[in-house]
Symmetry: C2
Subunit: 249 residues, 2 copies
């Protein structure tokens, strides 16, 4: 039996715009897919408002119960960007101008354009490690196991590649999906049996509508490809027996 | 000064498929927009895995600190659908066949098709209130202030309309957005001043990329339209002064 290394992470989405429903969060998916690929399991996501006491308290909970915490949002130049100040409080660190970040920002902008608003983006917890931003200059930062990224999805995406060496993951979490033209209740009892006989594979069943037709995606997840293959063949046996069609999705 | 009624809710997304990054959550946005329209503020969202002890514990935390809790996911017929059983444990109620739900499901399916998998969807916490499902038969349910909805977005959407009379909201939360062809740092200090002078309006600033160009959406939220209008006119003054273009978004 393979021992799972179980490296865990939490994602903390800081942003009223998600809580109000105005914006749909896509950063969780971006971060989670990347973490899975380097063997880190996301065990919890929280979305909280731009309020200092809530950010401080939530970060302090999550950083103790997870190997890593990734925050998104609140690191820009406006009044509602309070992540850096809040993280400083979480760790009891001074909130001050980060010299390296200041230099990066100063050289990113044209002479005369590095105004007060932009300078705010150089304020960070004392001695934070920078996370470089190849898209728009302003760096993110990390303190111990807490990594602070921006909320704009395209900028966030461009920054996580640079984090790989900072994260000690486990075995990559592999997955295989089989999508079927059926309904869950047709396969529920057989799937339960397959899950019970293959406890080291997490089997999920997700109904979908596609072009007006019902379907079910069966997702198998494990660190061990051979165990996924065993489940997969059991599922193929089942659908052959029941004459269920496999569909692309 | 208008006293805020502050009716709060939490949304609890139950589902490994969100934590793995495979699926992007859109139910938060659907529920939050609807709640805002009936005067309920979403103060927290959590995404947790399909694990009974975690569901029980999280529901028991959230239902005590929020007026309402909405869960999504885990109420189908397969082995990974454990929401109803977990909610029963949260409230210390028997998990049993709900007679009314059983009748609804029995009459929804053709004779002979109401199999064991489908019957599982009639198992609920004792005396739960049903939430009718106009799309696919299987009802959701509520116990006290916890409302359990399915994970499939189109089905969830069709069910929340029927909940309106169950929720005692406050004043609707109104919002107005002005989108600008500018960058945050151009307007940051003026926005801070406007926010400081208008504390009863929550002003958010959200950068975006659209057709390769940078922009910023300013979102003003309040229960009081006249207060939003005051902020709005201040922002229009600012952008006239700075010759910033308003854009559609």
């Amino acid at each position: 039996m393979t021992k799972s290394t179980k490296v865990n992470a939490a994602i903390l989405i800081i942003g009223n715009e998600i809580l109000s429903g105005r914006t749909k969060d896509t950063n969780t998916s971006t971060i989670a897919l990347w973490l899975n690929s380097i063997g880190v399991i996301v065990q919890e996501v929280r979305v909280i408002p731009d309020k200092e006491n809530i950010i401080v308290e939530t970060v302090n909970k999550l950083r103790k119960t997870n190997n890593y915490v990734f925050t998104t949002g609140g690191i820009g130049p406006t009044h509602d960007d309070i992540t850096a100040k809040s993280i400083s409080k979480s760790f009891g660190l001074n909130y001050e101008i980060h010299k390296e970040a200041f230099k990066i920002l100063e050289s990113y902008y044209k002479p005369g354009e590095f105004n007060e608003g932009r300078q705010k983006m150089a304020w960070m917890p004392k001695d934070a490690n920078l996370i470089l931003n190849p898209t728009s200059g302003a760096p993110g930062f990390s303190v111990e196991n807490v990594f602070c990224l921006p909320g704009v999805p395209s900028i966030l995406k461009s920054m996580i590649g640079g984090l790989k060496n900072e994260i000690a993951g486990g075995k990559p979490i592999l997955s295989h999906t089989i999508s079927l033209r059926t309904v869950e209740s047709e396969i529920a009892s057989s799937l339960t049996e397959i899950q019970n006989n293959n406890k080291e594979v997490e089997i999920g069943s997700y109904p979908f509508f596609q072009a007006g037709k019902l379907g079910v995606s069966i997702v198998m997840r494990s660190e061990d490809q051979s165990k996924i293959d065993v489940c997969s063949s059991k599922i193929l046996e089942l659908i052959n027996k029941k004459k269920i069609k496999v569909v692309n999705r």
